[in-house]
């Protein structure tokens, strides 16, 4: 399809990770013939983020094995990639971006895909702690790998028992580290899963030789000749050669906010990923958007949302009138366990656990609000994941007693309520 009127136009994209890069390629595919100019402050060719705490951390691979697109793909699609450059401000009136290196970039359409940055909690001593890193970028992984290989004792403290912390724990354990996870809440993954799933991961890590300690609020870090003493509120102390901080993210909103765009719990966008400025879209982790299935506004930290909003924004800019209506999904890999999640469990009031009659670990947790299925967490059980996806999307009523019975085969017809 030809979009001749787009030929002389410029679409600028701030942020070249999953959202920004997928957007750029989707925009070309939708027929945009003008310039596409991507900016990111990360100097590394855009890469897949989820493997950073998983397979990539344990491998010796360079980032070239983990790229979103090859360097040639950008040339082939005539997408201009400007790395190691950040944007200082957006002038909406004149449609100009001011770059940190003093250059300016005009735009006809702008896409904000600025994502998020790791929270570094204000723990006294964290600034001067030795070998202390977050894990969000390829550069962070380089630092952690380097510190790990240079350390003789390899004692690692991970602050935060969320997915990043736990995946990193599993990876560094696999590499031969002595790993302890310190979680502030009374259980790990408290924000995102049922207590039963928290218990499962707690046991999994314990079995694999990682200490996971809860109710451990870190209050001080003292660096003594390159060894950190990590002190918790209860007085317990831990020695650490390396500290990985995984306590969540903060959305990169400043550019949008300074430009006067509407902000809520993220950059507010409509069902086409458009902000309150009709020429500015926002996509990915930084957005606060409406989910039609759950009938509420959400902010999601996921590849799925980044990619799906990218496609919607590209289609919208090429005037194809798409509507964002997708089911959130996530995954995590730790040791030999594959967790696949679909839906949003927030607001559930009852769960059902189905254990399969197979060798090895294989089960799923089904989150309901009364009789409405909200979400499924599947452990080594892709069948449960795809079936859950189908049931949630279809608003199907499920026969819970049949679902809980592993002798009832995982077929949609077997499990629907009469």
């Amino acid at each position: 399809m030809s979009n001749n009127h787009t030929k002389e136009r410029v679409c600028a994209v701030i942020g070249a990770s999953h959202a920004g890069v997928n957007f750029a390629f989707s925009l070309r595919k939708e027929g945009w013939e003008g310039d596409i100019v991507l900016f990111d402050k990360d100097p590394v060719l855009p890469y897949h983020r989820p493997p950073l705490s998983k397979a990539y951390l344990t491998s010796e691979d360079g980032i070239e094995k983990n790229l979103l697109k090859s360097a040639e793909s950008y040339e082939k699609e005539n997408i201009s990639l400007n790395l190691g450059v950040s944007i200082s401000s957006i002038n909406r009136e004149d449609k100009i971006l001011y770059l940190s290196d003093g250059r300016v970039q005009n735009y006809d359409k702008l896409v904000i895909a600025t994502g998020a940055r790791p929270i570094i909690p204000p723990i006294p001593g964290i600034d001067t702690a030795a070998n202390t890193y977050p894990l969000r970028t390829a550069g962070d992984v380089e630092n952690i790998r380097h510190a790990f290989h240079a350390s003789s004792n390899k004692r690692i403290i991970i602050i935060g028992g969320g997915y990043i912390g736990l995946e990193t724990a599993a990876s560094l354990k696999k590499l031969g580290g002595t790993v302890t996870v310190l979680e502030r809440e009374e259980r790990i993954l408290a924000r995102v899963t049922a207590p039963e799933m928290s218990n499962f991961f707690m046991q999994l890590h314990t079995q694999n030789g990682v200490d996971v300690l809860t109710n451990k609020n870190v209050v001080a870090i003292n660096n003594t000749a390159g060894v950190n003493i990590v002190t918790c509120e209860d007085g317990s102390k831990f020695e650490a050669d390396i500290i990985v901080v995984g306590v969540g993210i903060r959305v990169n909103l400043e550019l949008a906010k300074d430009a006067g765009l509407h902000i809520e719990n993220g950059i507010a966008v409509d069902e086409t990923a458009c902000t309150n400025d009709k020429d500015i879209y926002a996509i990915g982790d930084c957005t606060f958007h409406y989910n039609p299935h759950y009938k509420r506004h959400v902010r999601l930290e996921s590849v799925q949302n980044a990619v799906d909003q990218a496609k919607v924004a590209a289609a919208a800019i090429c005037e194809k009138h798409p509507v964002y209506n997708t089911m959130p999904w996530f995954w995590s890999d730790q040791y030999d366990i594959k967790l696949q999640m679909v839906g949003l469990s927030e607001g559930y009031n009852n769960i059902l656990i189905r254990e399969e009659e197979s060798e090895g670990v294989k089960f799923s947790i089904w989150y309901f609000k009364d009789d409405t299925l909200l979400a499924v967490d599947a452990i080594n059980n892709a069948k449960a994941y795809v079936l859950g996806t189908k049931f949630i999307k279809g608003n199907n009523k499920i026969d819970k007693s049949k679902l809980a019975d592993p002798s009832v085969l995982f077929k949609p017809a077997n499990l629907l309520a009469e």
Partner: protein, 104 residues
């Protein structure tokens, strides 16, 4: 070095040469329509679904359990379905023909 041919859902034929990595990555790097590989190749998203040409099943072997399960309820899956992130490029795949599966 292996030559791999993709037939897209609108019947375009794209032949690519690869030496290493997954067939999905080869397709993504060359913008083969319908192969997205959103999860980066860990069998989590099923956006790299292909049908292996009937005469080439021996080249690729059968789908693993997780691939079968991920495609269990897919309207476009058949006994020759694979997630091509799980196909590692090697000389054994030279000449392989893959039909990109439709998606909902």
């Amino acid at each position: 070095m292996a030559k791999i041919t993709f037939i897209t859902t609108d019947d375009k034929t794209i032949t690519l040469e690869g030496t290493s990595g997954s067939v999905m990555q080869l397709a993504v790097d060359n913008s083969v329509p319908g192969i997205d590989g959103d999860c980066g190749g860990v069998c989590s998203c099923a956006t790299c679904h292909v049908h292996v040409a009937p005469e080439h099943i021996e080249k690729t072997g059968a789908a693993s359990e997780i691939e079968e399960d991920m495609l269990d309820l897919n309207d476009y899956s058949n006994e020759r379905s694979r997630l091509c992130c799980q196909l590692e490029i090697s000389e054994a795949l030279d000449g392989l023909v893959l039909q990109v599966a439709e998606s909902d």
